[in-house]
Structures are given as structure tokens and as C-alpha cells.
Amino acid sequence: MKVEITMPSLRPEMKSGVLCTWCVKPGDEVKRGDVLFEVETEKVVSEIEAMHDMKIVSLEAEEGDNVPVGQVVAYAEADGE
């Protein structure tokens, strides 16, 4: 099953966040709870964790990019339909 990983909304008024650091790369197999990337917004650095086990396929944003909430930053493959 193809999984879209998107820029999360960390507070109601958040429109975008800076993807500061990738903690994974294509081909990596990650477990639920592993940190995928870090976002900085309003001087807060937040770790974004995997919601379930998956294998990273591609990264769609570069470190330093200001990414709108909801935009895909990576694709992954996970078990299931």
C-alpha cells in the first residue's frame, strides 16, 4: 500500500512549517514511532514520528523547504491494502 507522508498541522493556525532535517532516506524501513523528520515553526523544533511500520520510497521535500500543511513530503510503502 502506497502511503503519503504529509506536513502535519501542529496547531490550528499553522499554515506551513520548515522541514529542517530528514531522519530517514529512501529504502529505510521504519517502525511506528521512529522519527521521520523534524519541523521548525515559531521557534519550536518538533519531531514527526511514523504512524505505522513502512518502507520509505522517496523524499519529496528538501531540508530547509517551507512546506504547506498537508503537502506530501515523502512516499512510503506499508503492508495492507
Binding site: R11, E40, E42, K43, V44, V45
Partner: protein, 296 residues
Amino acid sequence: MTLIKNPSHDPSFCLAAEQFILENLTSGDFLMLWRGERSVIVGKNQNVYGEVSILECEKHCTPIFRRNSGGGTVYHDLGNVNFSFFSDMGERTDYARFLTPVVEFLRSLGVPAEMGEAFDITVNGKKVSGNAQSVHRGRVMHHGTLLFDADITALSALTSHAREKAVSKAVKSNPAPVGNISDFIPQTTTVEEFEKKLGDALSDEARSFTPDEVMAIESLAGEKYRTWEWNCGRSPLFALHGEHVTLSAKNGVVLSAGEGFDFLVGRRLIPSEILSLLEEKYDTDTAEMLIKDIFD
């Protein structure tokens, strides 16, 4: 709120202690107060080479450290009291719940403190406190500075170095006029007394680090906060458009350089190491001039 006593003035130990508490003391509310020796502290996602004059820091014997929270570059010395709160994250980013008790404490001393727009604390329009946060597995660390009687001249000399010739996507600092809290307190108070009163006002019990915790923090400080790789090398990709030297670098290592400077490729951006390379090609005056072009 439990006050964790931390008598260390070593910024690398204190920054490691912040990370240790955030990641290991995962239930309850904690506060750590600390004062670090003179140093410049950049935000986690900043480009050291774009925010700081490394030559100026070397001239003032001032080390540079990188903290684990976001935001811009700040100056520390023993006249600056840092407060670090640790708590459950809650549902959203919230600065007010941490800043409100600090503002109320300052007002109790007669200081007309207000919460500023950029998550800081101001007094009569001057910033006396900068704040940032780090979130890890549902816990939040809120870190703030309180300029009590810091060396404002040194602060200005060391942190007012936004270098437009260093271009990157890194997080930029947001300079503001700053002031010392001691200038606004009616009665004479030492920074030690101020720190003690702050701790008493914000906490209801206290404890010290255990020997095992100190060992773990020391280990983390050595592996991370005392390394060039973290403090400078974590800088993201940037391009330097100097008057004489152009280059690109990532993680503090030169990726490409303009004509005649190919010998810098693959080298770490450490002034003493780059100077040695330049002196093999140029006379001393020219090498010094090029070093300033790259680092100042």
C-alpha cells in the same frame, strides 16, 4: 513543579542536561535554572557561518554552541539566567503557559515586563528574554534566557553578525533591541539572588542530579555538545559569495569553490585549518584577508 538544581556554568553540560531531561524524565513538570560562561548559542537549524562571526568569537575567546531547540542566535554569560521548563506537550504549541509565570515573577519585583510578539519578554520595548522550544515524544522543553546584568556590549559585538553573503535556507535570527532586567529593578539585587527568587517563585520542590544522571549528561555533552560536528558542522547547505572567495559548503565542509580555490574542497571550515592551507599559496597578508572574507 520540581526545580532541578544545576550548579554547572558549562554551557555544553547544561545543553546536554536539557536534552537528557527532555528524553529521560518523561513524567512530571520540571524546571532547570542555569547560567553559562560567556558563549554564543545558535538555534538547532541555523547556519553558524551565516549568523556568527567566528573570527570575532575567537578574538573574544567565546565558544559557539548549538542548542537542541529552534529559533535564533543568543548570547550567554554569567549575568544571564536561563530557565528551562519540561512538561507534557498538550495539544498545541503554547508559549504563554511558560512565559506567564516568568512575567508575573518579574512584575512582582517591580519590573514592568510584558510578553512580546515574537515569543519573548520585553521591558519598556527592550527584549530581556528570548524563548524557544523542542518537542520530543509528547514532551516539550521550553527554554528562555533572562538578561539580568549581561555584558550588552559583548552581546552586540558577538551576535550582530548576520552575514548576507552566506546564502542558505537555514533559520535566520531576528535581532531586537535588548536590555538588562537589573536596570529596571528598584532595589539592588545580585544575579544569584535573582536566580534564587526565580526558582522559589516557579517551583514547589527541588532536587539535584543523581551521580548516574551527571555521568549520562557528561557523556552526552562529550559526544555531542562539545564537538565541532554538532556545534558548527550541523550547518545546512549554504553558498558564500565573498568579495574574493566563493564556495558552497554543507555540514561545515566545502563542497565546491570558485576558480583558484579548488584546494579548499573537502576541507572543514575551521579558521586555523583554512588559514594553514591559504598560507601555503599566499603571503600572510593575503591569507589573512581571505580568511576574513570567508569567516568575518
